[in-house]
Symmetry: C2
DNA sequence: CGCTATTTTAAACGTATGTTTAAACTAGGT
DNA sequence: ACCTAGTTTAAACATACGTTTAAAATAGCG
C-alpha cells in the first residue's frame, strides 16, 4: 500500500472519530506508520489532506447517487418522498464495499465538516459537487411540488441535520441502543429508521 | 460587570461561533478584556469554564421547560406532538430576555457540545439535568403511545439532531435564506419552521 | 490608617501543533 | 554501474496552547 493511501486511511478514521480540529498530523502519521513530513510532502497541508479524504468518497458516491436519482425520476414523473430518500440507500451502502465502515465513516466526516472548521468544507462540497445537490432538489420538487422554495430550503437543511448529526454520533447511539434494547443494530439499521422520519418531516403539512 | 461574568459572556459567544476546541483562552480573555490567568483563577480550567457556560443556561431553561411540559400534560391527558414541541418555544425564547441572542447561542452551544470534545458535554448534561429529559420523554409517550421505546429513542435523537445541527449553523443558513428569498428571518422564524418538521418526523408511521 | 484577603497582572513554563529543511535513501532508466 | 528523479527520514522551526508562578494591585474591615 502506498504512503499516500496509508495516510488517507488513517486520517479518515481519526477525522471521523475525533473531528478535524481534534486530530493532529502526528496521530495520523503514527497510526499510518509513516513519517510526519509525509503529509506535507504528499498533500501540501492539513487542509488539503482533509479535502483529499472527502474527495475520495465524493468521487465514489456522487455519480452513483446522481444516476439513482435520475433513474427514479425517469421511472415515475412524481415519485414519493420515501422513494426519493430511499434512492440514497444503495449508493451510501456501496461505500461499505469501497472501504470497511465506508458508509459510517463518510457520514460522520460529513457531519464533522459542517460543524468543525467554520464551514469551509461546506463551501468545498457545494462548489465542487453542485450537480448532485441540484438533482436531489429536483427530485424532491417533483415529489412534493406544493412546497415553496423557501420551505424546501429549510426542510432539506433539517434533513441534512438529522442525518449528519445522527451519523456523527452514531457509534455512541448504537452503543446506547444495544445496551437499552438488547438488540444488535448497525449503520444500515439506522438508515432504515431515519428514512421514514425525514420523509415524514419533509412531507409535513405547510404551516398556515 | 464582574470579571467572572465578562469571561462567561465572551466565552459563550466565541464557543457558539467557533466551537470549544476552536476557541482559545487567549481569544476569550482578550475579547473579555481581562487577564489570561483570570480564567484559571476563577474557573480552574477550560473544561470547568465550558461547564459553567452551559450551566448558566441550563439553570435558566430547565425549570421553565419542565413546568411547561408539566402544565401541558395536566391540561390534556393525550397532547399532540405539535403541542409537545411547541412547549419548547416559550422557554427557549425566554433566553433572549435573559441575554441578547440567548436562544440562538444556547442552541448553538448545545450543538457544539454534541460533536466537539468527544461527548463529555453530553454526559454532563444527561447526568446533571435528567429530570427535564424524562419529562420530555413522558410527554412524547403520551402523545404517541404506539411508539415502541426503541423507535422513540431513535426519533428523539433524530429530533435532537435536527434542532441542534440547524442551530449550530443557523447564522449561515439565515444569511443564505435572506439572500435567496429576500426575506428577513430570525431565530424564532426558524423555530416556527422546524416544529412542523420534527412533529411530523416523530409522528411518522411505524416501519413495517 | 493598617492589616489581611482577594483579585489582577506580567512573565514564564512545558507541551503540542503544522510546517520546513536538508540530508539520506530508493527505485528506474540508459 | 551510474546518475537522476522521486521519496523517506530525523531534526529543527516558529507558533500557539492551557496552565502555573510570584509579585503587584485592590478592596474590605477593624
Amino acid at each position: 500500500m502506498s504512503t499516500k493511501n496509508k495516510i488517507l486511511d488513517a486520517a479518515e478514521q481519526l477525522f471521523a472519530d475525533k473531528g478535524f480540529n481534534g486530530t493532529s498530523l502526528r496521530e495520523i502519521t503514527s497510526q499510518a506508520e509513516v513519517n510526519l513530513a509525509a503529509v506535507n510532502y504528499h498533500f501540501g497541508s492539513k487542509k488539503e489532506l482533509i479535502k483529499a479524504v472527502m474527495s475520495r468518497y465524493m468521487n465514489e458516491l456522487s455519480p452513483r447517487l446522481e444516476s439513482a436519482l435520475q433513474t427514479l425520476c425517469n421511472q415515475e414523473a412524481q415519485p414519493s418522498l420515501v422513494e426519493v430518500f430511499s434512492a440514497f440507500i444503495e449508493p451510501l451502502l456501496s461505500l461499505n464495499a469501497f472501504k470497511e465502515n465506508g458508509t459510517s465513516n463518510f457520514l460522520q466526516l460529513l457531519g464533522r465538516g459542517y460543524t468543525d472548521s467554520q464551514g469551509f468544507l461546506r463551501w468545498f462540497l457545494t462548489t465542487q459537487y453542485p450537480t448532485v445537490i441540484s438533482s436531489f432538489i429536483n427530485a424532491v420538487q417533483r415529489a412534493y411540488p406544493e412546497l415553496t422554495p423557501e420551505e424546501m430550503f429549510w426542510r432539506l437543511h433539517f434533513t441534512m441535520g438529522t442525518v449528519v448529526f445522527t451519523m456523527s454520533s452514531s457509534d455512541a447511539l448504537i452503543d446506547i441502543a444495544q445496551n437499552d434494547f438488547n438488540k444488535t443494530i448497525d449503520i444500515s439499521g439506522v438508515i432504515q429508521q431515519v428514512i421514514p422520519y425525514v420523509a415524514a418531516g419533509v412531507a409535513a403539512p405547510i404551516a398556515p
